[in-house]
Structure formats: C-alpha cells, structure tokens
Symmetry: C3
Subunit: 140 residues, 3 copies
C-alpha cells in the first residue's frame, strides 16, 4: 500500500522520467545530425533536423519552469499529496505527444503543447495555494 | 508581522514570479511569430522577432544560474534571512528592464543585464558565505 | 576531519563551481561577439563565435539534467555519501574539456562530452538506487 511518505518519491520518479524524455529528444537531434550530415556548430540546413532541434530546445524552455513548480508544489501543496506527481505525469505525456507531433508536421505540435501547458498551470495553482496556506500558518 | 519562517516563503514567491516573467518572455516570442509570419521551426527572419527570441533565451540562460543560487542562499545564508528574497526581487526587476529595453533597441539591454548580474553576484556571495559557515559548523 | 554532514556541503560546492564554469562559457560568447563584431541578436556569422555559443548552449542543455540528478542523488543515495559530489566533479572536468576542445575543433568535443555523460549516467544510477531504497523503506 502507498502512504503519504510515497508522495515525494513519486515527485522524484516523475523528475527522473522527465529528464530521460529530455535526453531522448537530445538523442534524436544527434541522430538527425548524422542522417542529414549537419556538422556542428550548425543548427540549420534541413527541416527534419530543425524540427528535432526545436523539440529539444522547447523541452528545455519548459523544464526550467516545470521542475521548480513541481518541487514547490511537492513541498507546499498538502491537500492531495499525489496530485503533484499526477500533474507531472500529465506534463510528461504532453511533452512526448509534442515531440512526436512536431517532427511529423510543426502544425501538429499544438495538442501536446496545450496538455503540458495545462499541467504546468495546474502546478502553478497548487504551488500558489500551498504557499498561501503556509504563509497563513506561519503568520498565525 | 513577518518572522523568520516567512523567509523561505519569500524565496518561493520570488521563484514563482521569476517563472511567470519568463513565461511572459515566451508569450511575446509566440506573438512575434504570428505578427511577422515566422513559421516554426524557423527562429530568424525578422529583427523584432529575433530580439524577442533572444530575450527569452537569455532569461533561460540566467534562470539556470539564478534559481540554484537563490535556493542555496536560502538554505545556507542565515545572517539576514530576507536578503536572499530581496536579491531575487532585484534580479527580476533587472530581467524586466532587459526584456523591455532589448526589443526597443539591442543596445538598450545593458542596464537591465547589469542589475540582474549584480543580484546574481550578491546571491553568489551570500551562498559562498553561507556554505563556508556551515562547513565550519559541521567541522567543529 | 570530514564527516557525513559534509556530503551535502560538497554537493553545494560542486553546484557553485558548475555554475561558475557555465558563466565562463557565457563570458567567452560575449568576448567572441566583440572580437568578430557579431551584433546582437545575431548568433551566426563566424565559426569561432558559433563554436563558443554552442559550448554555452550545450552546457545549459546538460545543466538542466545534471543539477536535478545531483540533488536527487544527494538526497536519496546514502551508501557512499561522497560519491554524489565526486561524480559532480567528474562532470565539471568533462565540461571544461568539452569547452576547450570544441573551440579548437568541433570534432575534439567528444572526449569531454563522453566523460560528463558517464558522470550523468553515474548520478542517474545512484538516484534510481536511492529512490528504490527509500521506496522500500517507507513501504515496509
């Protein structure tokens, strides 16, 4: 059975999975470099390569927001301890959909983008709610 | 009244504000994509778009340094517990000035850049001081 | 004499050093901007500048994975408390080799890349091992 002490471990597991998915997006960039003969330091010259590269860059841009909110939510949001990890999993699913859609056609990246954006918004709300509660608790 | 238990909450609030400012820089990139018809995966082709994009990239480059130093300073610097959060707020102000200045004219980005750099330097000093103090405490 | 309480401080020191090395890669980009007259927002136009820029971008791409794994390993891996900090130092050495090699010749970046990748893999293993152990401990 799981208990409340598992919640931060779920957050840690979600973090590791998110970083592995990010590594996969970077691995695909390296593959496309080889396939299309794009020599470093160039990052342009072939559409398929550029899409793979944008997927990696965009995931980096989102990770810098996602990871701090994930751990702030983990630290401060106590109402449903598993919600933080669940939102993190939704974020990962959205990122994988974004990555697969983008290389098929840049116009197909929207759905995954929106799913991970909503998960980030969820973590923003749980974080703000948690901080507000903690503020009132230490002010009392 | 605020007490010492509010200090980490101020750090958390500063983190959330910094991430929201970062989202705003990313939102402007999307706006400029639409305004100037820059289709993904392209990231060049219009000066105004490129400036907005560089603002977002530069904030990402700074966030990866700022957030770890902010939380290390929060954890280890105990002399004035509110200084960490205050330096974080100065950093955010510098970043907003940088973002607004850059899109007016790339040459106008210096002031905001220097302000946030000084705030980062402040956090580096409080972090090193805090770690040195903690090292002596556990060595004693 | 060092004791177990020094281990998280070593992790903090490794973090500060890694961020300083990252700042150095960014400083070199600014230098190359001046030397070759590459005006912002441009990020192309000279091979030496582009190599310096790719070094900074690549370190950012690796930091977003390295720092979370470093601190997860620090939090959960208890078998040899100093291993986390030691792997972090190896990662930094690999990054410095990568930075120096890349600007000499992009083909020379492989060795440093592989060293820091192996250090990241080490942190991934210690993190997963630590989380698995903690999971069993709280499930018992």
């Amino acid at each position: 059975m799981m208990n409340v002490a598992h919640a931060p471990l779920l957050t840690a597991i979600v973090t590791v999975i998110a970083l592995l998915v990010y590594y996969w997006t970077g691995y695909r960039v390296g593959q496309m470099r080889g396939k299309h003969g794009i020599k470093a330091p160039a990052v342009t010259g072939n559409m398929e390569f550029e899409c793979a590269y944008r997927v990696q860059v965009n995931m980096l841009e989102q990770l810098i927001v996602f990871l701090p909110l994930l751990w702030l939510s983990n630290a401060y949001f106590m109402v449903w301890p598993y919600l933080t990890g669940a939102l993190g999993l939704v974020w990962i699913i959205g990122r994988i959909m974004y990555a697969i859609g983008y290389v098929q056609d840049p116009a197909k990246r929207s759905m995954g983008f929106i799913i991970s954006l909503l998960a980030t918004l969820g973590l923003l709300i749980t974080t703000i709610y948690g901080i507000a509660n903690a503020w009132m608790a230490v002010s009392a």
